[in-house]
């Protein structure tokens, strides 16, 4: 038996998962019989070099090396694709061995889920995907949710609407601190229930006290509201036009969309939490554990960049309910507010409600001196 250290990448491929590799090859590569002789010769030569200058690939060693596997190695593969193929082949072999073993309890569905998970693991950054690849990953995620018993979800990939820049205004004269917005947000965005994850915080401040001093404001009040002599102010992600969280991300897992929404690719985030340190508004949340939502409460209308299932070890945040707003609906918090304190609309439309508020009311933003340019304004009647 060959020493493992002597195995080349090609050997690994061949030994690990013949079935998987072959089926892939048949799909990827043209039939060698149709190739011109010169091309066939060139491929053989390069494969021989890859294989260490002899032995396999030459066709004379009888180890079963075939033209298709050479063709695969000649294809321009990037590291991600190559690793994906390799591990996929390994997984298939493991499963094949497992299937033959009498103690295997793995069902077809478990096997399918594993394959889907493999494909998900080796996919690229969402921003670099073609629309077809985006659709593929979404189909995989939907199927995985089904296989894992998380219900039938629909994940959308709606792009930003043209000519739209979302803006938000919050009326501190109207907010009464009921926290209906928080509850709606939790339900709409499938936030983790066991850790009581919330994107929105409502602060209670005594009348006349400065807005700048939120550090000492109470966001945990439990008494009946509105309390006499107090006003209320909500914070969430402000979708800054100059977002420090985006600049510090070392892997570009978070970015700003053309409509101004700052999003996270949960499958690209490495959980370093730099963005959380950079955000001056404490708008981002980290998943210390696998988020859990009871199946009967799961919101199945999802967006890839929004309320779809997150995993342990990644950062998430408010996206102005991207799954709703890109359909023309209002964010859940604005929809649920019983006092009408929340105004949402298109900043680029001079006839929008939000523009009227900005032009006719006294508005301010939090920590404006930092230059983050939040797209979230507070106003008073």
């Amino acid at each position: 038996m060959t020493d493992r250290r002597d195995l080349t990448f090609e050997d690994l491929l061949r030994n690990a998962g013949v079935a998987e590799a072959q089926s892939r090859l048949e799909r990827l590569a043209p039939d060698p019989a149709t190739l011109p002789p010169s091309e066939l010769e060139r491929r053989r030569g390069s494969a021989a070099r890859a294989g260490g200058g002899g032995g396999c690939g030459s066709g004379s060693c009888g180890c079963g090396s075939s033209a298709p596997s050479n063709t695969l190695l000649d294809k321009p593969l990037d590291r991600r694709q190559a690793l994906g193929t390799l591990f996929g082949a390994l997984a298939v072999t493991t499963q094949a061995v497992g299937a033959c073993s009498p103690v295997s309890m793995e069902s077809d569905e478990e096997r399918e889920a594993k394959l889907l998970e493999r494909d998900e693991f080796f996919k690229g950054n969402y921003r670099l995907m073609t629309p077809e690849e985006q659709t593929e990953t979404v189909r995989r995620l939907e199927r995985l949710a089904h296989l894992r018993g998380q219900g039938d979800v629909q994940i959308r990939t709606d792009q930003a609407l043209e000519g739209v820049m979302y803006g938000y205004a919050f009326n501190i004269s109207k907010c009464k601190g009921f926290r209906n917005c928080v509850e709606a947000c939790v339900q709409e965005n499938n936030l983790d229930r066991p850790s009581d994850r919330q994107y929105i915080r409502i602060f209670e401040k005594p009348d006349g006290e400065s807005i700048d001093d939120l550090e000492h404001a109470d966001a945990t009040y439990g008494h009946e509201v509105p309390a006499e002599g107090h006003y209320y102010l909500g914070t969430q992600c402000f979708q800054c036009a100059n977002p420090p969280c985006v600049y510090v991300c070392p892997v570009q897992a978070t970015w700003q969309e053309p409509d101004g929404i700052v999003v996270v690719d949960y499958d690209w985030c490495i959980g370093c939490r730099y963005c959380m340190a950079a955000c001056p508004y404490w708008a981002r949340r980290f998943n210390w554990s696998e988020p859990e939502v009871p199946a009967e409460q799961l919101n199945p209308r999802q967006h890839y960049l929004g309320n779809r299932a997150r995993k342990k070890g990644v950062v998430e945040k408010c996206t102005f309910c991207i799954q709703r707003t890109r359909e023309g609906r209002l964010p859940a918090c604005a929809e649920a507010c019983p006092t009408g304190a929340r105004v949402f609309g298109n900043l680029l439309d001079p006839d929008s409600e939000i523009r009227w508020v900005l032009e006719h009311k006294q508005v301010f933003r939090l920590k404006e001196d930092l230059g983050t340019e939040p797209r979230f304004w507070y106003y008073m009647d």
Partner: protein
């Protein structure tokens, strides 16, 4: 050039122009998505019926919100017309909204103000008399009304309700208006609030941020006879059976967060 080729050349040019125009149209010629899109303008006073169900500019996801709205007599931002939802003729109470998997009631009262399901005239005949249908006194019939606002302002029923037909409201200069246009009555005193309302800084918009602008009327959130906000307990977070209070490994961070005013939600 052979003159017989001219028609072909011209045809090619025309074809190329058409293709270019079509391509530019396909890329989207609309520069700005208007909150209030240029839908056919309806006559003042006219009603929108199908708008919530089959609104051409709204995505199908919004279908199912069934309500009727009346063209407001005033205009909103940019001088555009807007619509006020009509409670009495709605198939569903649109004050209840679906968010996630839950249904929400929107309004300032714990108990929603009742919908006007019967016409006032079914009891009140012409000339403001109560006809013989029930025979009861009006105080008894209307005892569900808390007359907080009238007591505060020294008003009585007929200050706002028309004596000829209580289903219409007195607006002074403008004569009487239907209940659907109650904002005109409210504006007699609360002109600042109603101005903010008609431009979107006060009150609530229905359906979505774009498309035909339909807003809730004053009496959808405020009980007209007791318009203030009722105090109540705020939502207290997720209550799961067996949930540990304080968390395990999160403890340190929650404590730190609370010290910085970060409480209320855990990291």
């Amino acid at each position: 050039m052979n003159s017989r080729l001219y028609p072909a050349v011209v045809a090619a040019w025309v074809l190329a122009a058409i293709v270019a125009v079509a391509a530019s149209l396909a890329r989207g010629s609309v520069a700005v998505q208007h909150d209030t899109e240029a839908l056919p303008t309806l006559e003042p006073g006219s009603r929108v019926r199908a708008s919530f169900e089959t609104e051409d500019t709204l995505p199908s996801a919004l279908a199912g919100v069934v309500a009727e709205a009346v063209h407001a007599d005033w205009t909103g931002p940019g001088g555009r017309p807007f619509y006020v939802a009509v409670r009495s003729r709605s198939d569903v109470d649109y004050r209840h909204r679906q968010i996630g998997r839950s249904t929400w009631y929107l309004g300032l009262r714990i108990t929603p103000p009742p919908l006007v399901t019967e016409s006032c005239a079914s009891c009140h005949a012409a000339q403001g008399r109560v006809d013989g249908r029930t025979g009861r006194e009006s105080e008894e019939v209307h005892q569900n009304i808390q007359p907080v606002h009238p007591r505060q302002t020294g008003a009585e029923c007929l200050t706002c309700h028309s004596a000829e037909n209580p289903g219409r409201l007195n607006t002074g200069s403008a004569g009487t208006v239907e209940l659907d246009h109650a904002y005109q009555l409210c504006a007699q005193c609360h002109f600042q609030q109603v101005e903010s309302w008609s431009y979107g800084a006060h009150g609530k918009r229905l359906v979505g941020w774009r498309g035909r602008r339909v807003v809730m009327g004053c009496a959808d959130c405020h009980d007209p006879h007791a318009p203030g906000t009722e105090s109540r307990a705020p939502w207290a977070g997720v209550q799961l059976p067996g949930r540990l209070s304080g968390g395990s490994h999160e403890g340190g961070e929650v404590a730190a967060g609370a010290a910085q005013g970060h409480g209320g939600s855990h990291d």
